[in-house]
């Protein structure tokens, strides 16, 4: 116990003597949590363009509908299709409505006349589809105002009701305002925990290995596993301190509270530190110097982060990519964090994820210990 306390004290002194690192360790997460959520306001307003070859009250009503819609920041009129297309090409306009000549005159004919033309910038296909739905819905409203055709159509079935686009009542649970902030704050918290948890112990071991300090310790009677355990324990304390600072920051600045039990969240955070510290430990054992370890960590961390559903949902991934979650502790941590922080779920409902996360940690640390035993030259 005394030896463990001495190792912890040595690590503490080492950290507080490096002021720049200490500041960076706490300033990085806070600055990221302080700035990034401003990127997540989701108040999309795009520029639209109209080429009006009809120039009638009906065609003007389409323009008016678009101008008054909160979806569009600006609605520009273009004299020709070419000039409108040029504007789209330069990224200034995202959607163009082309109203054909005689549109109003042919409006009440049955069957109806020439359709309206929509040209949508589709470099982001998902946004293009949304834009199509929004614009089509707006124009349907405007069309209805000027069209007699639907009344005739519904007189046919004898229905007294106006038939509208068949819409569903959508209820967004757990996040009724569809706010991106809390969702991504949780993701950022896990991102911070992942990077700090993995890099801290890894850098500590590899820098001592490179400087020869570890070799010196090996020639003493100090048990090397105890030494590593002491380093891991200290890294976990720092990691926990950073997590607490980050959580407090989220609470004070964004009012984000843990919907579930905060103690359970803390416990899960400690559990998550295990696979992350183990990964850092394994990378330190596998490599000879800091350059190699950083290269390896980037490869591993980038893969784990991008596959963790931090930036895209699991349902959006292809089947083979979804399978990677079974080996990815970041995925489990994200899943559990969202359940506790956003949904207020209790521990019994995410016990499987917690066990999987711990099992990954066990496997990683077992691999590191095995490699260390079998090839002492790597140590």
């Amino acid at each position: 116990m005394k030896i463990l306390a001495a190792i912890l004290w040595k690590e503490f002194l080492q950290l507080v003597r490096n002021k720049e690192l200490l500041i960076l360790l706490f300033a990085c997460p806070v600055s990221i949590l302080g700035i990034v959520p401003f990127a997540l306001e989701n108040n999309t307003r795009i520029n639209a363009g109209i080429v009006d070859y009809d120039r009638t009250p009906v065609s003007r009503s389409y323009a008016a509908m678009m101008v008054h819609s909160p979806e569009f920041a600006e609605v520009r009129h273009f004299p020709t299709i070419e000039s409108a297309e040029r504007s789209v090409k330069l990224g200034q306009t995202k959607v163009i409505l082309v109203i054909p000549p005689d549109h109003e005159r042919k409006l009440n004919r049955f069957p109806p006349g020439d359709p309206l033309n929509l040209a949508i910038e589709a470099t982001h296909p998902k946004k293009a589809q949304h834009l199509l739905a929004t614009t089509a819905s707006l124009l349907t409203e405007a069309h209805r105002a000027g069209s007699q055709h639907e009344v005739e159509a519904y007189q046919k079935v004898g229905s007294p009701h106006k038939v509208e686009a068949h819409q569903a009542n959508i209820h967004n649970l757990f996040n009724p305002e569809a706010s991106y902030q809390y969702y991504y704050l949780v993701s950022l918290l896990v991102l911070v925990q992942t990077i700090i948890g993995c890099c801290l112990l890894n850098h500590n071991i590899i820098s001592e290995k490179e400087k020869g300090v570890l070799a010196q310790f090996n020639s003493t009677s100090l048990n090397r596993y105890l030494y590593i355990a002491g380093k891991g324990l200290f890294a976990m304390f720092v990691y926990l301190a950073i997590t607490l600072v980050s959580l407090t920051f989220c609470r004070l600045v964004y009012g984000m509270t843990v919907q579930g039990n905060p103690e359970e969240y803390l416990l899960v955070t400690i559990l998550f530190s295990f696979p992350m510290l183990s990964l850092g430990y394994l990378a330190a054992v596998l490599t000879k110097n800091q350059v190699q370890t950083i290269y390896l960590l980037i490869l591993l961390l980038l893969t784990m982060i991008l596959m963790s559903t931090m930036f895209t949902s699991l349902d959006s991934m292809p089947e083979w990519a979804r399978l990677t979650r079974f080996f990815n502790p970041v995925y489990y941590m994200l899943d559990i964090s969202r359940l506790i922080i956003l949904k207020g779920v209790q521990m019994k409902h995410f016990i499987t994820q917690a066990v999987m996360m711990t099992a990954t940690g066990l496997m990683l640390s077992a691999a590191a210990v095995l490699i260390m035993r079998k090839s002492p030259e790597r140590w």
């Binding site: 046919k156 850098h203 820098s207 596959m307």
Partner: protein, 374 residues
């Protein structure tokens, strides 16, 4: 001439040290294609096969047809029937379902007169996915209604549109992640790897030895930059070939413009890499600085994950200045929309200015901190 000769020798030394570290070399060479290929396929933003549960109060052929219609679409997968309303919340909280569809009584009639509409409960913790799910559901409902009206011989009241999707007519989903992934590759190779190499010289003390040679500070920096620039050029070619071959994304504008654009952005990230290496003391600091000050802002503010227009008005001017934003804009312009570099003069001036300022600061910092002649 002597200047080029010195740079050549330092570049050879740097190349040898890169080649001697086999593990690093392998990662340096395979990381970019791996990122592009794996994540190019894996990162998709449209949810598919989303599990849904149904509380069917109508129990008519029409309601069953609607469930089958949802189940047959690639976006949704039927998972369970619910019996009571009380089951909705637990199903979304603890179950596998992301959506619960409540079909009201009289749903079959409402397809004609729309007195009652189905209630759809979505787990909206992920707002991006829930937005897509809601949109997909609405589209499927519209479609079912149109089909139903057609069956009854009624012409729909919706106006018809000729829709053309410009610059990506097939709505290829790969065009969303690819520019962002290329940006990540550039950050990793040109900023992180170079700054690591610079920092190594400082930590091992070989920077002092370099300063004892006749090589000047600018020659040392240029000599160290050249091999990374060559690696980056190799990767631009790899990216260009892979994008065309695997993802069928061909440069709509000029290929030369594409290479020139990539080169400019690589130089920018190189300048940032030099700047970071000039002011940090340990490799952990370097790693943290690269992750938090290069990787995270470029991921979140560049328009890769969220469009700039959706950001807070306070942050938009900052986001516009980020090199990643300029890269994304220029990439989408040159590669997808076929614009020329002159159409992106504002982005290019921004990048050139930032590169110059970062270079000046980096050289000053490197001179002050470790490449001292005196």
């Amino acid at each position: 001439m002597r200047y080029i000769h010195t740079i050549k020798h330092i570049a050879i030394k740097e190349t040898l040290s890169i080649f001697r570290d086999r593990l690093s070399l392998v990662i340096l060479l395979i990381l970019p294609p791996v990122i592009l290929v794996i994540f190019g396929y894996a990162l998709r933003f449209d949810p598919e096969d989303v599990n849904f549960a149904v509380l069917d109060r109508d129990n008519t052929p029409e309601s069953m047809e609607f469930i089958a219609h949802l189940d047959n679409s690639p976006s949704f997968r039927f998972d369970a029937y619910l019996e009571r309303e009380e089951e909705i919340l637990p199903s979304l909280t603890y179950g596998k379902q992301k959506v619960v569809v409540v079909i009201p009584e009289g749903f079959s009639l409402s397809l004609l007169n729309r007195e009652t509409a189905p209630d759809i409960f979505i787990d909206a913790t992920d707002p991006m996915a829930s937005g897509s799910i809601g949109y997909n559901l609405q589209q499927l409902l519209h479609q079912q209604m149109e089909d139903h009206l057609k069956k009854h011989g009624i012409q729909s009241n919706r106006p018809s549109f000729n829709v053309s999707f410009l610059f990506n007519p097939d709505l290829k989903p790969e065009v969303i992640p690819i520019p962002g992934l290329i940006m990540i590759v550039f950050i990793l190779i040109s900023a992180l790897m170079l700054s690591l190499s610079m920092h190594r010289e400082k930590e091992k003390g070989t920077s002092r030895m370099l300063m004892l040679t006749p090589a000047g500070i600018s020659e040392v920096i240029a000599g160290k930059v050249v091999p990374f620039l060559v690696i980056c050029l190799f990767h631009i070619t790899t990216i260009w070939l892979l994008s065309g071959w695997l993802f069928n994304i061909h440069v709509a504008g000029s290929d030369a413009m594409f290479f020139l654009m990539c080169l400019l952005f690589i130089l920018n990230f190189i300048a940032y890499g030099l700047l970071i290496s000039a002011f940090i003391r340990t490799e952990l600091e370097l790693l943290l600085a690269c992750w938090f000050f290069l990787f995270v802002p470029n991921m979140f503010f560049s328009g890769f994950l969220f469009p700039i227009s959706t950001m807070s008005p306070l942050i938009q001017p900052f986001a516009e200045l980020i090199p990643g934003t300029s890269f994304m804009e220029t990439y989408r312009g040159v590669v997808l929309r076929g614009t020329s570099l002159t159409d992106h003069w504002a982005e290019l001036i921004n990048i050139l200015l930032q590169t110059t300022v970062a270079c000046i600061l980096a050289i000053w910092g490197l001179k002050r901190n470790y490449l001292r002649k005196t």
